[in-house]
Structure formats: structure tokens, C-alpha cells
Amino acid sequence: MKKINTHGTPLLEIESNALGMQKSPPIAAGKVRGLAVERSRMEKAWNVLITGCLFGMLAAAVSTGTAFAQNSDMDFTSSSDEGADAPAAGDDSGGGSDMDFTGGGDSGGGGGGGDLMDDLIGGSTSDATTDTAAEEVSEEISEEIFAVQQIYALRINRVELVPSVAFTLNDPFTSHTALSIGVNYWWTNVLAIGANFLWYEGLESESDLNFSVRRGSRLSVPISEYQLGAHLNFTYVPLYGKFAMFNEFIFQWDAYLLGGVGLMNTRPRAVIDPEVRNFDYDLRVAFNVGVGIRVFVSRWLAIFGEIRNYMYLERLEALDVALGAARQDTATWLQDEVAFTNNVSIHLGATIFLPFDFEYQLPR
């Protein structure tokens, strides 16, 4: 495989020598010339100089079709094969190419008489430089390695879809399993606003502990059940990191904090007096805070896990059962005081960023 120089420095060096920018046509020392004669000669010199510039650039345009700045078309050696090996040092024959920068004879670079083109272009003095540069072109390796890499997966100005499943962690009596869908908009790379919706009904179940406690201690624990929840959230990403797996694969991850407010539709489940009592769902204001971690599988897909605490005030079933006609009175079915309830849930799911791809405005 060819060694490729991405900077093209040698090429530029060759061009500068070819243009002879370091040299100027000498004026014979010791002679005094008339002003008109001097101007005429200077005009001639400038014209030649400019012509040489144009010619040189045109030559570069013909040969440089791509950024492969090495001895493909600009062959400064006797070999005109593309991709040939680096020319031998000191080889200044220069045959076989239209742009022969090796010139005749002069090896010192430069000065005085002989062919003006050679003098201007740099003739033989650039032979060694050319050969050396050609060698350098074929051998020099200059990879673009940046100290600070661009972030693999940007979040800014992207929409995030977050489907997940939620499981309750802190309720030993009832499992509040839910299906959740969320959407977030990242207006900066670390801040997002969004909403999530959870559906609980049909997915909850009462644990065996509840039955065991009722039978063993004659004590019923009032429980509640959820139907749905809807919340507005802010998300902030303070942690961003990378993991290398077996020192071969690298993937990005971040950790985030979130919090917000919303509504939950809940009701007590009749366990004290299930024969008579029957409750309807009611909306309750709920706050939520949480922490999560997101691992990027690709630029648009990630898996995540988060622990979120949904906090709200619940009305629980009354522990006492009224007797007689009062038993049917719904006013006696609920406890007088509200219970501050923490529903600590773990969300597991995937996150999808839209649009799927993004472009940096600046190269680095």
C-alpha cells in the first residue's frame, strides 16, 4: 500500500523551488545602465517571472488530480511508473517527464548564467531536494491524529424516543410493572426537556407476601394500584465516558439526572373490606427524580437503565370498617390522612435518536 502524505508539504516545497521564489535574475555587477534600458530589462524579467508562475501552476494542475501527493504523476526520476518506488537519492536525470526540474549541470543551486528557466525554477540545486523530497513523499507518514476527538454521538438538536419497561423496586406488596414511552428534545448537548407516559393497568400483581401477612398476623396492608402516569421531565448529563472492551472496541456512555412533574391515575385496592368497597381511579400530582446510564450502540441507538422515584400523595383504604348502613357510605372507605408514597422504579429500554445521523459544522 502506498504511503500517503496528507499534507503535501513536499509538493509545496517543490513548487516553491520551481517558481524560483528564492532567486532573482542577476544584473551584471559593475555596470551602470540607463534608466530606460533598466526598466525595459526589468519588464522583461517580470514578464518572464509571471509567465513562469503561470506555467508552473498549470503544470501542477495537470499533474495533481487528487490529494495523493507523492510520486504518482510528478516523477522526478528516470522512472515514470506511477507508484514507483522512491527515486534513488541524487538521481537527477529527470528524464521522461514534461516537467523536468532537474535542469542541466548546475548542482549548486543557483545563481548566475546559463538557462534562466533553470535559474528561476531552481534547476540543479533542487535536484537533491527533489529527490530527497520524493523519497520523503514515499516514506513520510503523517497521520491526522487529533488530541481531542469529536464526540461520537451528539445529542444537541436531536429528538430522543425512549421506549422502556418499568419495574417497581420498593413495593413488596404490589408490583407496579409498566410499559413506558418517552420523548426528549436536546436543546444543548447536556440538557433536554421531554415527557414520558407509563401504562400500568393489567400489568400489576399482588405479591405472596401480602397474603402471608394477612394470614399470619391478621393484618391487612392497604395497597394501591396504578392505571397510568404522564410526566414532564428535564434531563441533565453530567457524566460522559468511554469504555474499551478487550482493548479493541470502544463505545460511549453517559450518565444523567432527571426530574420533573406530572400526573398519576391511581386508586386504592380494596383489601380491608373487598366485599363492599370499590374505588375509582383518581388523578394525583406526582414529582419524579431519577438517575440513569445510557450506552451508545451506534450514533442513533443506545440502551439505557434508570432508577426513578415517582412521589405523590396517595389516599389509602381505611383500616376500620364501619358497621351497619355506614359500611356502604363511601366517605368511610378512605383514610383521613394522605400517605406520601414513593414508587421507586427501574426503567430498562432503548433510546433512539432522530435524526439518525449528524454532521459537524467544523472539521475539528
Binding site: 508562475c53 490529494a67 507518514i141 497521520e143 413488596p172 453530567p238 478487550f246 482493548n247
Partner: protein, 310 residues
């Protein structure tokens, strides 16, 4: 050519002329095409490891996590504060073996009962049907099962190694690992009260009824310890402040069966899937219990210097 250039020189001077010439030449030059992706793919970085000069915090080192502070989760009647230590030795930067040991509630000198236990003590009732399960609600706290300690032998596998940045300012080396092994759970439960005949039938020792209430009360406070063998599975995240100090965050699970409340819950003839009491306290009253806990510990790596990869 000369006359044109001469006119130009007179009009705007040489620098402008040169710029004009260069500009004209530039229009002839085709825009070079970029092959940066090819360069990077075919360059010297191709096939190279993702990380060079990586500090290997684990290989050929003893990793002590002391103190290892833990707290059991989702306990129904009593929670356990675990204090212990962990020692791991790694053969490679990915694999290691370790031991862990911890005592609960400082040798059970303290009790951390759940609110359910408090509610049962306050509002529970003893009747003829649950006299063996709970002879006296006031002493319910004396009959629940408590974890005394935990010990484990485990393997560690750390496939993930990386860094994290905190507020884009502080950077910490991290690694993520999983561990699996066997755990010994030292459990103290309500004492069993049966004798087993040669044919395998079990008979309750003593009768627990209203007429023999003292026998019931004595059985409520009788305790016995046992060692439960359980699988242990866990995950952890280590944060390394330097080559010899760090912070370990772990979650580990050690499920096994026990009788957490000391109730007579099973063993009788069941007409449905619901377990029926049999009038005895034995292993048939045990139920599967998913014990799990979180741990935080200070990491001390020995020797203090870590190896660095190529």
C-alpha cells in the same frame, strides 16, 4: 503578452499582477478530492489496539476493598447493614478471583426493622388460627429472620475499561466488571419445632393452642442459626483516583430460601396452589427470597504501582 503585461504593470503594479496571475491559474486547478477516510483506514493506526499506554490496574495485583459497606435491598421485615471487606487477585487485567466477607448490623447488635414489622407489632392480632404463626404481636420482632453475615468466593471478569468525565472537568479511570460465585449466608431464624420419625413423617414438638400459650410464646423467641449456600452474582463499577486508590460500587445478589417472618405458612395439604399451614415450623415454611444488596468500598491496590500496556 508583453504589451498586456506591461499595461497591467503600469496600471496596478507588480503585486496585483502576480495576484491576478495566480487567481487565473487557480481557476485551472481542479479541487483536490479528500480521501481522509481512506488515509485513516489504511494508515498506521489500522489494526492497532484501541488504547495505548493504558494503565492496567488489576493485572498481578491484590485489590483490597476495605471497608466494604453494604445495605440489603427490598427487605420485607428487617434490613441489614453489612460491613466487611473484599480481597481480589487478578491474573490478567480481565480475570480475577476473590473473597468477600461481611457481618450484618455489627453482629446484630442493632436492628433495622421495616415499617411493616412496626405495623404488625402495633396492629397485629393473635387468634386461634394464627397462634403458632404469631403467638404475640408484641414479640413479632423476635421471630423474624435476620442475616448474620455473608461470605463468598467468586470470579471476576472485567471486560470494560474506560474513563468518565464529570462536568467535563474531572476525569477518572473506570472499569466495569461482573462477578459470580458461591456465597454462604449465615442466617438466624425462628427455631423449628418438629421431630421426624424414621418413616419421614414429622410431628410437632409440643402443642400450641390457647391452653398451651406459654409453649407458643417460648417457640416465638427460640432461635437457631444455619448456613445457607447460595449462588452469588454481581456487577461493579470501579473508579480509580490513582494507581493505588479507588472507589468500588457494587451490586450483588445471593438468593436462597428462608422463612423471613417466622410464620407457619406451608406443609399442609393444599387443595389449590395456595400453601396451607401444617402446625409445624420447618423448612416447608421457607420460600424463595431474592436477597440483594449494594456495596460501596475503598479500593487499595497492592503493589501501589500499576503496569502500563504498550
Amino acid at each position: 503578452m508583453r504589451s498586456i503585461l506591461g499595461f497591467t504593470n503600469r496600471l496596478v503594479g507588480f503585486p496585483a499582477t502576480l495576484c491576478l496571475a495566480l487567481a487565473c491559474a487557480a481557476t485551472v486547478l481542479p479541487a483536490p478530492s479528500a480521501h481522509a477516510q481512506e488515509i485513516q483506514i489504511t494508515g498506521p493506526l489500522a489494526g492497532q489496539p484501541a488504547v495505548r499506554g493504558m494503565r492496567m490496574y488489576r493485572v498481578d495485583r491484590l485489590q483490597l476493598i476495605v471497608p466494604a459497606l453494604g445495605f440489603t435491598l427490598q427487605d420485607e421485615f428487617s434490613r441489614s447493614l453489612m460491613t466487611g471487606l473484599e480481597a481480589n487477585y487478578h491474573f490478567t487485567d480481565y480475570l480475577g478471583i476473590g473473597v468477600y466477607g461481611a457481618a450484618a448490623n455489627f453482629g446484630n447488635s442493632i436492628r433495622i426493622d421495616s415499617d411493616l414489622t412496626t405495623q404488625i407489632i402495633a396492629n397485629g392480632q393473635t387468634t386461634g388460627t394464627n397462634r403458632l404463626s404469631m403467638p404475640d404481636e408484641a414479640n413479632f420482632g423476635d421471630q423474624i429472620a435476620r442475616l448474620q453475615g455473608l461470605a463468598s468466593l467468586h470470579l471476576l471478569f472485567a471486560p470494560l475499561r474506560g474513563k468518565l468525565s464529570l462536568f467535563q472537568g474531572a476525569f477518572v479511570d473506570t472499569d466495569f466488571y461482573v462477578m459470580a460465585g458461591v456465597a454462604l449466608a449465615f442466617v438466624e431464624e425462628r427455631a423449628q419445632n418438629f421431630t421426624e420419625a424414621a418413616d419421614g413423617t414429622r410431628v410437632a414438638t409440643g402443642v400450641c393452642d390457647a391452653a398451651n400459650n406459654q409453649a407458643c410464646l417460648d417457640s416465638q423467641t427460640a432461635r437457631e442459626s444455619r448456613i445457607a449456600i447460595a449462588p452469588m452474582l454481581g456487577v461493579g463499577l470501579n473508579l480509580y483516583f490513582n494507581s493505588y486508590l479507588g472507589l468500588a460500587l457494587q451490586w450483588r445478589a445471593f438468593p436462597f430460601a428462608m422463612n423471613p417472618a417466622g410464620f407457619d405458612d406451608g406443609g399442609g395439604t393444599a387443595e389449590s396452589s395456595v400453601p396451607v399451614p401444617d402446625g409445624m415450623l420447618d423448612d416447608r415454611d421457607h420460600r424463595f427470597y431474592f436477597h440483594h444488596m449494594v456495596n460501596v468500598g475503598l479500593i487499595i491496590n497492592l503493589p501501589p504501582e500499576s503496569q502500563v500496556s504498550e
